[in-house]
Symmetry: C2
Subunit: 333 residues, 2 copies
C-alpha cells in the first residue's frame, strides 16, 4: 500500500505519517489492508523540524515543489497511491492577505491533485482537509452540523468549501473515493506561530510552557471548537477507512471538537502545568484576528462524527498533557 | 451605462437585453441610473435565432468566442461595464456527459470573467446565474430555501455552487458587487430542445402547441419548481438593482418559483389552448433524465425572494399565455 500526504512535511502531515507507519496498514472499508510500502511526503519546502526517525524511515520518501505547478503534481504520480491525504493549504490569515495565492494553491493545486488521482484509475481513497472556516456569516446557525450551509467569510474558507464540493462530485462520478474532514482549530501545534488566524490558540499553551509570554488577540470569553492533534490524526485515518456507504452523498464530515472558551483553555494549561513556570497570557486585542475568529463557528454538533467513530479527546487537560509528553518533556522536545 | 451579458445570444440573454433596452437604464441601488449606451452580448456562437430588432439595435454589440479562453474574455473588457450578467454555462445534461468541459466552461470561464471584472476596479454590479441544481442528495430538505446547504448531484450543479461561493468571496473582498440568482426550471423556452435534463419541461408546452408530440421522461406526478421567462428576466434585473445591504453576507438568492407537478403543467397547457390543435404528451420513461430530475429539489420556499421584491408569475396559465403571445402568435413566432 502506497500513501501520499500533501503538506506532508508539516506538523500534522508528519504526525499522520508516523501514525500510519506505526499501524503498518490502513484498514480501508474496515478490512485489514496490505502493509504500507511507501509514504510520500510532498510539501513546498523543507520544514523547520522533522520528527525524530521519520525522515530516516526507509518507507518514507520526501518530495518538494509547488502544488500549483501541475507538472510537479503529476511528477508525484510516478507510481500509484492507495490513499491520498491532502493537507497542503494556504492558511486563513495568509489567504486574507493574498487572495490570488489562496486560489492558486488551495483551488488550482487541489484540482491538479484530484486530476492526477483520477488519472490513476484505481479508485484511490482521498481525504481532503477542510475547515470549520468553511462556515460563517450572518446566516450561520449558532451550533453548526454537517448539514449546515457552507458560507465562508474568508478566502481560505471559500477554497475549503469548494474543495468539499469537488470531493463530492469526483466521488459521485467514480473518479476516486473521497471524503472531506472539516477540521476545528488544531491544538497544540509545536514550533513557531504561523499565519493562521487561529495560531494564537496553540500559542496560548505552547509559549507559556516555554516560559514565554503569549498575546491573546481576542476576548477570553470567545468560544472556539478545538481538537488535539492525536485525535485529528486518528480522525483523518478513520475517515479514510470508513466504507463510503456510511457517508451518503455528502462526504464532508466535521471532526468532533471540544467547544471551549479561550479562558477555559488558559485554565486547562494551569491545571496541568503544576509547578512548571509559565509565561504570561497578555490580553492584547487584534482587530484583524478578532474579526476573522468572530466569523467562525463557536460551537459544533458532534453527533454524526461520533456515530461514525471519529475520536474526541476527553478534555482540554488531556490534550495539554500529551503535548507536554510529546514536545516539552518527550523525545521531540 | 454599459452592460455585458454572457450567454447573451441565448434565449434568456436576448430577452434580458431586450428588457434592459426597453427600460433604458438599470436603477442600481434603486436610484435611476444613466441611460444604457451599450449592451455587449457575448456568446460562443451565432444563435439559432435572433429576436426581431435586437441585433440591429445600435446599442447592441455581439462578440463570439470561448469563455474558457482567458484572452477572449479579457478582450471583452476593451471598455468598462457597470453591470455584468453571467448566463453562459454548460447545461445540466451536457455537464453529466462531459465533466471536463463543465469545469472548463463553468468554473474556469467564470473565474476568467470574474478576474476581468475585478481588474476594471469600478465595483461593477455582477449577477451570476446559479440553479436549483445546486441542491440535491440525501441530505436535502423537502423544501429548499436560501439557507439550505448546497449539495449538488450533478457536475453542473457543483459548478453553480462553486460560482455562488466565488460571488460571495469576490464581493466580500470588494472586488465587485455580486449576487447569485438561483434559477428554477425556466419555461417556456422557444426553439429546439437542448441538453438540459429539464429541457422536456419547456417541450411539454412548446411541442404540442406546434402540433408535435412530446415525450415526458418522468412520472407526471414529479413536482418541479418552474418560473416563466418574463419573471426570470425581471428577477435578474431586480437582483442587480437591489442595494447590497438587503442581501447580507450570503448573496445567493433563489428566484421565486411555482412548485408544480408535470401533470399540472400539462393541464395548464390544455386550459389555455382552447380550440388549438395540440400534439400529444407521450409518457416515455428515461432513466437518465429521471435520475437527474429526482436529484433536484421538488419545492422551494419563496419567502426571502418575495421579500426582496423578486417577481413570481401568478399561474402556470399566465406563463403559457405569454409564451403563446410572444412566440406562437406574436412577433417572434
Amino acid at each position: 500500500m502506497n500513501i501520499l500526504i500533501t503538506g506532508g512535511a508539516g506538523f500534522l502531515g508528519q504526525r499522520l505519517a508516523m501514525e500510519c507507519l506505526q499501524r503498518n496498514c490502513l484498514n480501508l472499508d474496515d478490512k485489514p489492508g496490505p502493509a504500507i510500502e511507501k509514504i510520500v511526503l510532498a510539501d513546498v519546502a523543507e520544514p523547520p523540524f522533522w520528527h525524530s526517525g521519520l525522515r530516516e524511515n526507509n518507507k518514507v520518501d520526501t518530495r518538494f515543489g509547488d502544488i500549483s505547478d501541475q507538472n510537479w503534481v503529476n511528477s508525484l504520480f510516478d507510481h500509484t497511491y492507495d490513499a491520498v491525504f491532502h493537507l497542503a493549504s494556504i492558511v486563513s490569515g495568509h489567504g486574507e492577505q493574498d487572495f490570488d495565492l489562496a486560489l492558486k494553491v488551495n483551488l488550482d493545486g487541489t484540482r491538479y491533485l484530484f486530476e492526477s488521482i483520477r488519472a490513476q484509475d484505481n479508485s484511490a481513497r482521498v481525504v481532503f482537509t477542510s475547515s470549520l472556516a468553511a462556515f460563517g456569516g450572518d446566516s450561520m446557525p449558532a451550533i453548526v452540523a454537517d448539514h449546515a450551509k457552507l458560507t465562508p467569510m474568508t478566502t481560505y474558507g471559500a477554497t475549503k468549501a469548494i474543495g468539499e464540493l469537488l470531493i463530492n462530485d469526483y466521488s459521485r462520478k467514480g473518479f476516486f473515493d473521497g471524503r472531506s474532514a472539516r477540521l476545528p482549530t488544531v491544538i497544540v501545534r509545536p514550533g513557531k506561530p504561523n499565519l493562521a488566524a487561529s495560531s494564537f490558540v496553540s500559542g496560548l499553551f505552547r509559549e507559556p510552557l516555554a516560559g514565554v509570554a503569549c498575546d491573546i488577540p481576542v476576548d477570553p470569553s470567545q468560544m472556539m471548537p478545538v481538537l488535539g492533534y492525536r485525535s485529528i490524526v486518528n480522525g483523518l485515518i478513520r475517515l479514510a477507512e470508513l466504507p463510503a456507504a456510511d457517508l451518503g452523498t455528502d462526504r464532508g464530515v466535521g471532526l468532533p471538537s471540544i467547544n471551549a472558551t479561550v479562558q477555559q483553555m488558559m485554565d486547562a494549561l494551569k491545571n496541568v502545568a503544576g509547578n512548571r513556570h509559565l509565561g504570561e497570557h497578555v490580553i492584547k486585542h487584534d482587530a484583524v484576528i478578532d474579526k476573522i475568529v468572530k466569523g467562525w463557528p463557536e460551537q459544533t454538533n458532534n453527533d454524526r462524527a461520533l456515530s461514525l467513530g471519529l475520536p474526541l479527546d476527553n478534555s482540554l487537560e488531556d490534550i495539554v498533557q500529551y503535548y507536554i509528553d510529546d514536545y516539552v518533556d518527550g523525545s521531540d522536545a
